[in-house]
Amino acid sequence: MEIPLAMLHENEEAEVVGIRGGRGLVRRLSELGLTPGTKIKVLLSNSPGPVLIDVRGSRIALGRGLLMKIMVNLEVDS
């Protein structure tokens, strides 16, 4: 099931499917390691503010608006 990353709860894992954004955003996010096929995990999402996610062994915080543009696939088995 393809959903925006913003919809994930804490401790949920998923795989990045694509980015719904312009060239600049796609570029920036791929520099941070968010390319299609990358596994991510939501580490902290307990406030209206930014969400902490694990990407390729680094923790990065991204805003919820931005997370709406990152499409992920919820893995059945992780």
Binding site: R27, R28, E31, L32, G57, S58
Partner: protein, 232 residues
């Protein structure tokens, strides 16, 4: 004196390595007009004087944020003799992206394969010699927390500084892009000042990417129309 810059992703142990090399005698200095700090330290090794600059941690060298820009500007404009790229050996894939960007910038890179102990404990076997062969730069395994590999790193830095090699790694972007890159590069080469200040292939790639800072620089060139014609 050998001018050395330290660069790497956030949290790879840059500042720890910096303090190891400079003996913690570092003082903190400001970049003019910028709020992000850089640290400058000195170090003597086997009669060589080294000035070491600790740059802000960054994942890439685009013009997105002020710290990335500072790191990039320092390497492009101040042209340090050697750039130590500190790489987290336990997370190579992510870290090598910045390495490739540095090589594209034609910096004189020495790789410190840091957190070598953690990589080992995770069961990773990193072949430093092979990595060195592939990238054409010195690769030194280090553990900054226990100061392992510091002497070897300094040896490699001094060797690299003497050789002054600026290896051009050509990462091919495919036929269509390469054609455009060489067209822009040819136009850039006509501007002597521009082509002697920047690596021309890197500049051409950045023009095609639409990098704001680079385009500003191109605007000042007498050859700007010819260069920009390609991207119109």
């Amino acid at each position: 004196m050998i001018r050395v810059a330290l660069i790497g992703n956030p949290n790879v142990g840059k500042s720890l390595l910096f303090n190891n090399l400079t003996g913690g005698r570092a003082h903190v200095g400001n970049w003019p007009g910028k709020t992000v700090e850089r640290k400058v330290g000195r170090c003597r090794y086997k009669g060589e004087d080294l000035e070491i600059v600790d740059l802000p941690g960054t994942y890439s060298l685009t013009a997105h944020s002020i710290d990335e820009l500072i790191a990039r500007d320092y390497i492009v404009k101040e042209k340090p003799d050697v750039v130590i790229d500190i790489v987290d050996a336990s997370n190579l894939e992510r870290n090598l992206y910045l390495t490739l960007q540095l090589l594209e910038l034609e910096a004189n890179v020495v790789i410190a394969l840091n957190k070598y102990d953690i990589a080992k404990s995770l069961g990773y076997e990193v072949d430093a010699d092979m990595l060195s062969k592939i990238l054409g730069v010195y690769v030194v395994p280090t553990v900054a927390t226990t100061k392992e590999g510091m002497e070897e790193l300094l040896e490699a830095v001094i060797k690299a500084a003497r050789e002054k090699r600026r290896r051009k790694v050509a990462i091919s972007y495919g036929k269509a892009a390469e054609e455009l890159i060489s067209r822009v590069e040819r136009a850039i080469l006509k501007d002597k000042e521009l082509s002697s200040t920047y690596p021309t292939r890197w500049l051409a790639i950045k023009v095609l990417e639409g990098d704001g800072e680079v385009l500003k620089e191109i605007e000042r060139s007498p050859c700007r129309d010819e260069i920009l014609e390609v991207i119109r």
